[in-house]
């Protein structure tokens, strides 16, 4: 497995090998699926839409409905306006969405298609039925990475729809970051525990975890409604979880509707969840509900009880910046040693943040933004770890180096559970901690000689 990978790294400036990221449009598609009655539309070649739908389907094992402008060579020469206009008519007549969320691709961006002009033209020509909406986001594939596309699409919804009526509501806005439907449901449960009215954008719960009923619901019941997105402009505060995925939309709300915002880490792990809960408590001015304190206590209890399997264990972590930052802190707090920490995404802030988190525990850690899994593999060859935490793509390194892998992040293509059981919050932390502990215990069992094969662990 991966036999061609040498241990010694050679400086590469042009070739990416085994990327740990993909391009913007898939993030825009995921975000748009979290809006009720929304059809994501990919303005580009058919392949983009096909690839993004396929990969999201592989991760969620759910239908992913999205349409495409089906560019041909002709549209690439003359521009994609005719294709998008035709697409808009076709979509409203055939699929009757409440809202179409157009995102661009490297193709339409390179040509320079002006989406607002095309939407305006459709509006003028009566191609947009009464009460229906089209929004867009520019998501050139050659800028940023998949989380940038998510961020741009969420910002796009805000930009087109959020408006202040001049009356502040009691509600807050919550931008949840690129997390699972299960996580989105869990975040709502936390907010509800404080009796705090909130609008969460996007919300893929009850969309990408749809029940089997014998029928396919083209627009499942979940998702943030257009009316809710409009009302975000009146909220009293915005909590944005994860700077990479959520900050832009929060800033936009501040600019556009003067809603103050604060950016927090994704509430993954103990400390980050503590900060999230504290922020909510500060907003409500009420005490933290006992049930959340109990959940917290359980997480602390398990980490303490099982510390012998965690303390000092070397771990390699990769994935999207928001996830990796929270996860690295969580591992550090369990006294694990994150020795290789990488994101495929971009941002110097990632390296600075990880450095700060590991300053006193693993000052020599390998830390890299815009890395790839080939690099990660070479790091692991150079310094072996006890555990890897990352996406499904790590399974090849895991097999090559015989190191256990806890699957975390996007995408997970070869296991189920992530979309149903949260990893945010204390209970999510408990799930993550038990996955980590189990992986280490399984390995100890597998490698133990008969005389040391323990009954009780």
């Amino acid at each position: 497995m991966l036999d061609m990978t040498p241990a010694n790294s050679v400086e590469r400036t042009a070739l990416k090998i085994n990327p740990a990221k993909t391009c913007q449009p898939v993030g825009a598609m995921y975000a748009a699926l979290g809006v009720h009655g929304c059809l994501p539309h990919s303005h580009g070649s058919q392949g983009c839409c096909a690839y993004h739908r396929s990969h999201l389907t592989r991760h969620f094992k759910e239908p992913i409905m999205a349409s495409t402008s089906s560019f041909t060579e002709g549209s690439s020469v003359f521009g994609g306006m005719a294709n998008l206009q035709q697409a808009i008519s076709t979509i409203f007549e055939m699929y009757d969405p409440e809202i179409i969320a157009v995102h661009t691709t490297c193709l339409s961006e390179t040509i320079g298609d002006d989406i607002p002009t095309i939407i305006g033209k459709c509006q003028n020509e009566g191609k947009i039925p009464e009460g229906k909406v089209i929004v867009h986001a520019n998501t050139p594939s050659y800028v940023g990475f998949h989380v940038t596309g998510y961020s741009n699409m969420v910002k796009g919804f805000v930009k087109y729809l959020a408006a202040s009526t001049g009356r502040r509501s009691d509600a807050i806005n919550l931008i949840p970051g690129w997390v699972e439907p299960s996580d989105m449901a869990e975040l709502k449960r936390y907010i509800a525990a404080f009796n705090l009215p909130a609008i969460m954008l996007p919300d893929t719960s009850s969309v990408l975890d749809a029940p089997a009923t014998g029928e396919h619901s083209f627009y499942p019941k979940g998702g943030t409604t257009v009316a809710q997105i409009r009302a975000m402009g009146d909220a009293r505060h915005t909590l944005a979880l994860g700077a990479w995925a959520s900050e832009e939309a929060a800033i936009q709300l501040t600019k556009q509707c003067e809603v103050p915002h604060e950016v927090l880490d994704l509430p993954i792990g103990l400390a980050a969840t503590d900060r999230f809960i504290s922020a909510i408590a500060k907003l409500t001015g009420t005490a933290v509900p006992q049930l959340l304190e109990d959940e917290r206590g359980r997480l602390v209890d398990v980490i303490s009880d099982m510390h012998q399997y965690l303390g000092g264990k070397k771990v390699a972590i990769w994935g999207d910046p928001d996830q990796v930052i929270a996860l690295t802190e969580f591992c550090r707090d369990m006294d694990m040693k994150p020795v290789h920490v990488m994101t495929g995404g971009n941002g110097q802030a990632f390296e600075e943040r990880i450095k700060a988190i590991l300053a006193d525990s693993v000052p020599t850690a390998n830390i890299k933004q815009q890395g790839d899994l080939f690099q990660m593999h070479q790091w692991i060859k150079q310094e072996k770890v006890d555990l890897m935490i990352g996406t499904t793509y790590g399974k090849f390194i895991s097999r090559a180096e015989d190191i256990p892998l806890v699957r975390f992040g996007w995408p997970i293509l070869d296991r189920v559970g992530h979309s149903y059981f949260p990893s945010v919050g204390y209970t999510g932390g408990l799930r993550l901690a038990t996955q980590i502990i189990s992986a280490i215990q399984e390995r100890q069992d597998r490698d133990a000689p008969d005389h040391a094969f323990e009954l009780v662990m």
Binding site: S69, F71, T110
Partner: protein, 532 residues
């Protein structure tokens, strides 16, 4: 299946009626009621109407994803933003055997990860450097380069870079202009891939292969290990496989493939160009085979034996067929007894929607409607219609290579007289009769099916199984109908050959008889069942 199914004509009208009239008029040409004796003319290989939710992908997917990607020891560099490389990374399940010191890059993805400055200032330098870095790190036999959408638009000349790097590094480096927007589907990419492989690799290494029965299999990509099973059977028969295009192969296999005595074609859509070009240049005849389905496999093996005309080989092939069919007789009978008469629908690819009808017919299942995602008219109506296919603007730009006989190496494996005599005796050359000739009268044939049509068909026919791909899989299953992915095999397989057929019988039996289908409706919502 419901007791009464409306006629195919009624269903057709209903599908067309669901569209706005302009769209419906276009779709009407793609939705036909079949007559195997006189296949009606179907519209195929034309643009999908923008906004329609289609199964189709792009040209790049057909070139890199389908045809070139399975070659294990070439470093495949995708020149473009990261996504195109990322999504075509192992997602097609082309298996490749390792060992014997073979370089294997199947588990790797290589990309230039173009950034905005590359789009603005051009990406040729970065591409050249990427090729250099790949060579320095891996020292591969060959490197190929795939163009994605922006590459063509900004005018990067990947072929010039390839030539320059070939000279600099001394290994074969070649490029493909397979930008996603070319053509109307993956199909354009197949053609571009065929052209590039033919020009740059086929014929590179002359070699005397000391064996009386040498063949290439064209259009077999080793999804789920299909090629392994075919290799096993051929070896057992004493037939020597020189190269597969392109499942489980090495660069050298393809470079020596022109030394074989026969080409057989599995996936007609993706590789028929290669068969034609190799015949013209080297004199290798070809015919269509199908190793999907036990009976189809037997038939294909017999035809290969008949081609060589060697009595010992013919006898050996008969013995292998008898032994292999016998080994799967019990499971076939057992599954047939449960599934005979059940109804299947197949909407996938450019060959599989036809090939898999043979597997279903092995166990007595019937295909009620079928269609391809990206095929051409000949794949439906037979190669006889090729001269009458109109070449539209989208296909005109895909290069047709003019091929002349190789002055030194053209050697017809059968003389014109031999071919004519065999043809007279019923042996078909360069043949493909297409899907329609095999499907029953009154079945529906639908090209480039849309999501809307799929949902309607399922609601009307309530098939016992629907065969499609990942994008449709969970839509269909949400409707309570099992959906077998025929691109990825649902991560199972092999389904080719005899052992593969047995796998498929068991798999379809499992899927259709799943207990959970009966438990979708909670008990409190079920009306009381009549007392038995």
């Amino acid at each position: 299946m419901p007791d009464t199914i409306p006629s195919a004509e009624t269903v057709r009208d209903e599908l067309i009626k669901a569209y706005p009239s302009k769209v419906g008029k276009k779709r009407a040409k793609h939705i036909l009621v079949n007559d195997p004796a006189a296949p009606p003319e179907i519209e195929a290989n034309v643009r999908t109407i923008p906004g329609i939710i289609t199964q189709r992908g792009c040209c790049y997917a057909g070139c890199k994803g389908v045809v070139l990607g399975p070659i294990k020891d070439i470093v495949h560099i995708v020149h473009g933003p990261v996504g195109c490389s990322f999504y075509a990374w192992m997602s097609r399940r082309n298996q490749a055997a390792t060992g014997d010191g073979v370089q294997n890059y199947i588990n790797y993805a290589f990309t230039t990860d173009m950034q905005d400055e590359d789009i603005v200032f051009g990406g040729e330098k970065k591409l050249a450097q990427a090729v250099r870095e790949a060579y320095q790190t891996f020292k591969p036999k060959a490197i190929d380069i795939f163009s994605t959408c922006p590459v063509g638009l900004i005018g990067d000349d990947v072929h010039a870079v390839a030539r320059q790097m070939k000279e600099e590094l001394g290994i074969n480096v070649f490029g493909f202009s397979c930008e996603g927007y070319k053509g109307v589907s993956q199909s354009a990419g197949h053609h571009i891939a065929n052209n590039g492989l033919f020009k740059n690799v086929v014929g590179e290494q002359d070699k005397v292969i000391d064996h009386p029965f040498t063949i290439n299999i064209l259009g077999e990509y080793n999804i789920g290990g299909d090629a392994f099973e075919i290799e096993r059977i051929l070896e057992k028969c004493g037939i020597k496989l020189v190269s597969t295009f392109s499942g489980n192969v090495k660069y050298d296999d393809i470079a020596t493939s022109h030394n074989a005595k026969l080409n057989v074609v599995m996936c007609h859509r993706s590789i028929n160009y290669m068969a034609e070009m190799m015949e013209k240049k080297f004199g290798i005849p070809w015919f269509k085979v199908n190793f999907i389905g036990a009976d189809a496999t037997a038939k294909s093996l017999r035809k290969i034996a008949q081609y060589f005309g060697d009595q010992a080989l013919i006898a050996k092939v008969e013995a292998v067929i008898a032994e292999e069919l016998d080994a799967i007789k019990a499971i076939r009978a057992e599954v047939s007894c449960r599934l005979a008469g059940k109804k299947a629908m197949l909407f996938v690819g450019g060959s599989r929607a036809h090939h898999y009808q043979d597997l279903f017919s092995d166990i007595g299942m019937e295909t009620v409607t079928a269609g391809y995602e990206f095929a051409h008219r000949d794949d439906y109506e037979s190669r006889r219609v090729i001269p009458s296919i109109k070449v539209d603007a989208d296909s005109r730009n895909i290069e047709e290579i003019h091929v002349d006989p190789d002055p030194a190496r053209y050697a017809p494996r059968k003389t014109a007289e031999e071919k004519a005599a065999m043809e007279k005796a019923g042996f078909a050359w360069s043949d493909y009769d297409g899907m329609m000739a095999q499907m029953k009268k009154g079945t529906l044939v639908i090209d480039d099916i849309s999501h809307l049509e799929m949902e309607k068909l399922i609601a009307i026919y309530k098939p016992d199984i629907f065969c499609s791909g990942i994008k449709d899989k969970y839509v269909v299953e949400k409707m309570g109908v099992p959906c077998k992915q025929l691109h990825s095999y649902d991560y199972g397989g092999p389904y080719a050959g005899f052992k593969g057929a047995a796998n498929f019988y068991r798999e379809i039996d499992r899927m259709i008889s799943k207990r959970i289908w009966k438990m979708i409706v909670p008990p409190w919502k079920k009306t009381a069942a009549p007392a038995v």
